[in-house]
Symmetry: C2
Subunit: 629 residues, 2 copies
């Protein structure tokens, strides 16, 4: 699969961009003219620099306002083209992208435009160059790839072809099947971009909101299936205008881009087996059956505190690692591990982030296959020296630097606890306060990095993302998006913080990076759990009484239920599938906390309750006296 | 004039919001329900807290999905209303805002809705409360204030009235004159909000992009004139949903809000003299005739460097302050002052920001009247001890903390240079390299603070703002907006940085705050100026040669002109009014620089050249060897 990306898609000056693009594994790069013009080296040297990075220049762009111009503008446009042809020859690229004319003085007419392209093709031919025509979604007369194709067809010149761009086609909701009848040799290049579905002015949307295929909501896969059906096997090239990407890390954004193309190619070759994507086969997206364990790194002193909190939450010490300072806590199907080793990755993670849930273990069908897919999608493998008698657990680095381990029931890994730990008390099941499994893992990151996480999880695992919702923190909006699988056994909530003063932003600042901010455990009977917790001396997060008054009014709750919720500090929500109950721990350290949920068919995450939960947490973080009146 | 703001408009918990709202001078506050629910005190105590801040609760909001519901939802809605009436009575507010129903199960029909409101009015009456109905722009059946008014009219109940909101009316482009025939006693409250003109989904636009009247592009003044024509003299209340405001400083955003209402009231009482706005009269917006001077604070050593640069730029030492370490540099009509005093504001500014253009003097018709208007609009007056023989110059603090002085020709201030300075060489005019006047002052701030600056300048001075444009820095987008007057004698460019790595963001970080990042001087003959500068040993910022190749192609420039531009490192642009030439100094210190422009009728600021200028400046800031190939 031939991959390319336009320089405009990432930040930095030209050498920084090329470096990031090459390191991310792309084969080609589109030179966006301004990136070249702003760089102070002649086109021949720039061309050499690109090739020295192992990259092909897939095209030079954009050439604007060309076709259908009245004289004298028409002649000037041809003169301008000749100047750009000079540059292209020096750069060493043979395709120029001509986007459809937006000038108010442009004349319409397919034949007029076709005549212009035929002449431009003739001029290009003399230099061994080719002209690609792309319909902008907001072009003055041509804003549909079907019309652009008709112009190319009528131009009927060997050196004139079509350029397709998923954004322009999908933004206008043009039937992608119209692509299937275009001869593949007339498609010079295919550009790919996705975008979130927000109804707005097309130009504004395109300039600010584009993102990588799979990061947005457009049916880019359908578009690509239609392209693949033509037999097209040229470059797939990303052209992404995005305000966050322009200010982001070039390395990270370039890596996202290449991952998005590999994932897209993988989907196409599964859906269209007869199409050759020339992409190495990899295991299909991985079904996750649950969270096998969560591992904390901590100092010995903090491990005492954390262990105390876990015991109050009903956990039992179930085992000690045979050779390491690692303790296993268990309740129901939940395994929590506290690592206080003074060496190894857990320790170095502790030194940077303090006590944190730095690793999660996922239950999958085949652990090795999972790691294989993750590596094919450019995840970084994680390996650490294994002691005598220990198992090698397949693992990768997560986006934020934490570790994701894979556990299965088909290998020795199914006995990992018995193999590596001295299990206490015969390993009898322990019900504790009724917590049964991990309902969801909540990770917090900077908002600008959120799409990286979304793509990472959805490309490796058989999951989908839900629409982004706004969480109202008194200090600003936090964007929240859920990654989950269909059976609800694997659920992640991602929270993107835009500033440091929200609870989420505070967590990132104090923990020196993104990571797991809270764990939600499932119970079948939240009132029984709450009362058992009370007996354990556990004090839940205190919720404002006003919240319960409103709850009664909003849902028409009967007073008895409302009073039980109120006295136990349980939050409540309801959707068309059922009811939801939430109980929170106070914050542990700088913003980490636990949640206990009961979902009677409910599919959501209680987003409308978050403002009350956050307000309560902020009161807890910085206790105040009476309101400052 | 009675002013109010909804708690949802600013950040913080309830006490923080109330504190900021009271300090900004509002008389009332709308309690947004979630702000109350999230706060852990009973409604009676909350009501007392609000009143202890000297604030009235102008209304309680929102009450949603009320009118036109089928049973049993209708009965439940009434039950819900009774619960909210309980809360309102405890809070101590008599108006509830009912927004038009968005529920998919709501039934249409004006009479059905009117019946519901009549019954609700009857229930409210028993408690001494009133019900205000507002048409949401995206209401299911009612999305137009004219329809909402028809329902209120048919409900025909003393305790039911209308609530108008400028956003909902203007977003749908409803004729505001339809407001003029509504009886003022039926308008319970008027909400005001502005927004930038971006074509997008109404709900998304409303939830994220609203801003203060005057900060956006909607004809809020026309809306308010129509309201004023009814004789309405109740609260003008801001209801602003804005992502930046939610994460911003509550003090600063509340101050902007109050300023926006004073400015709006000022405009209305000028346009409709027969309307009583009960607002103190103030001088009209101030015409600025130019920049009288710019003052730098510097250490003695840095003053040497800066002075050297100024001399290279053709400035002459024209005078020394009679009693202070202050030097006057002059060229044409430009006065630059370098202050190296070890006491006073200049020095304390130097200690914080280093060498910087911390003060500007503006030429106005009447300096005292200017300061009076600025104070009426809540600008902070600036006063400093005046030495013997010195003049008191009326002055205010700018948004970023810098000083704005006002100079006129009607008072002693016209002779300020002769009075306070020993003028050297008889004060003969000095042409230098041909710089004649300050063309524009460029100020840099965080993007989130940009609207504060826009409102500050446009409300005090007779200026307008131009549309925001995106400046492409290799490290991210910088938003740029121009404040200028009609004759072009007063021009400011505001640059809002979103991250620290852009040139603008770097400047804010290194200078510990926003401020003047560059000064642009005007010449009548840029080539003569460039050649005189060359003779002075001045080296301009070096522009990429590729830029000039493109310039020839883009504008069809003749080679002779292009070569002159290229050899002098002059940037070029053209609009329908004329040509523009730009020459830049290298950076002085951490990002400050000078620009020299010639505008032959051209009205813009060369935005399309900025990417090339910034790339050149970044090369200059951190010199690199050959590209990393």
């Amino acid at each position: 699969m031939k991959t390319s990306i336009a320089t405009v898609s990432i930040s930095g000056d030209l050498p920084e961009k090329l470096d990031a693009i090459a390191k991310a594994g792309f084969g080609g790069v589109e030179i966006f003219e301004n990136d070249f013009l702003a760089f102070d080296a002649n086109p021949r040297d720039v061309g050499r620099m690109v090739r020295d990075h192992g990259l092909a220049i897939t095209l030079f762009q954009p050439f604007r306002d060309f076709e259908g111009m009245p004289e004298p503008h028409r002649s000037r446009a041809f003169d301008r083209a000749e100047r750009k042809f000079d540059v292209m020859q020096e750069l060493g690229t043979d395709i120029v992208l001509v986007c459809s004319n937006v000038s108010p003085i442009a004349l319409g007419g397919l034949d007029r435009a076709a005549d212009d392209f035929r002449e431009l093709g003739e001029r290009a031919k003399k230099r061994g160059l080719r002209v690609g025509y792309e319909a902008l979604a907001w072009g003055r007369h041509i804003n549909d790839h079907r019309d652009a194709w008709e112009i190319v067809r009528r131009a009927d010149h060997t050196n004139v072809g079509l350029i397709l761009d998923s954004f322009h086609t999908l933004a206008r909701k043009i039937d992608v099947n119209s692509i299937r009848s275009i001869p593949k040799e007339k498609i010079l290049i295919v550009q790919l971009a996705d975008a979130p579905l927000i109804d707005m002015d097309l130009l504004y949307w395109s300039r600010h909101y584009r993102n990588m295929p799979g990061e947005g909501d457009l049916p880019v896969v359908d578009f690509m299936r239609a392209v693949a059906a033509t037999g097209y096997d040229g470059f797939l090239s990303l052209e992404i205008f995005n305000d966050q990407f322009r200010g982001g890390s070039p390395r990270s954004i370039a890596l996202d881009g290449h991952r998005s193309l590999i994932y897209l190619g993988d989907q196409i070759q599964r859906l269209e087996p007869e199409v050759a994507m020339t992409l190495p086969r990899m295991p299909d997206r991985i079904q996750v059956d649950g969270v096998a364990f969560v591992e904390f790194s901590a100092s010995e002193e903090e491990a005492e505190d954390l262990g105390g909190l876990l015991r109050a939450l009903g956990f039992q010490v179930a085992g000690q690692h045979k050779t390491k300072l690692v303790t296993l806590y268990r309740q129901g199907g939940i395994n929590l591990v506290i690592n206080t080793e003074h060496e190894g990755f857990a320790h170095s993670s502790y030194l940077v982030h303090g006590t944190s849930a730095y690793a999660i273990g996922l239950e999958v069908d085949e652990a090795k296959a999972t790691a294989e897919r993750a590596r094919a999608l450019m995840a970084e493998p994680f390996e650490q020296t294994v002691g005598p008698g220990e198992l090698t657990i397949p693992a990768i680095r997560g986006v934020g630097g934490g570790i994701i381990y894979f556990i299965d029931q088909k290998s020795d890994l199914k006995n990992i606890w018995e193999i590596e730990f001295n299990i206490i008390a015969g390993g009898e099941p322990w019900d504790g306060v009724g917590l049964r499994r991990v309902d969801h893992v909540a990770q917090t990151m900077k908002y600008d990095e959120m799409l990286t996480w979304v793509l990472f999880y959805t490309s490796i695992f058989k999951t989908h993302k839900t629409p982004m919702v706004d969480i109202v923190d008194p200090a600003g909006i936090v964007r929240s998006q859920v990654i989950e699988n269909d059976d609800g056994r694997f659920r992640l909530t991602l929270n993107g913080a835009e500033n440091r003063t929200t609870l989420a932003g505070h967590f990132i600042t104090e923990n020196f990076g993104s990571g797991v901010q809270h764990l939600a455990f499932e119970t079948n009977d939240i009132f029984a759990t709450a009362s058992a917790l009370h007996e354990n001396g556990f004090t839940p997060l205190q919720i404002s009484s006003n919240y319960y008054d409103d709850l009664e009014a909003r849902f028409g709750l009967d007073i008895e239920l409302s009073d039980r919720l109120r006295s136990a500090n349980i939050l409540y929500d309801r959707d068309e599938n059922g009811e939801y109950f939430q109980l929170y721990s106070p914050n542990y350290g700088e913003g980490f906390f636990f949640e206990i949920v009961q979902r009677n068919g409910y599919r959501g995450y209680g987003a409308s309750n978050s403002i009350f939960r956050i307000a309560a947490q902020k009161r807890h973080l910085r206790p105040k006296g009476m309101p400052r009146v």
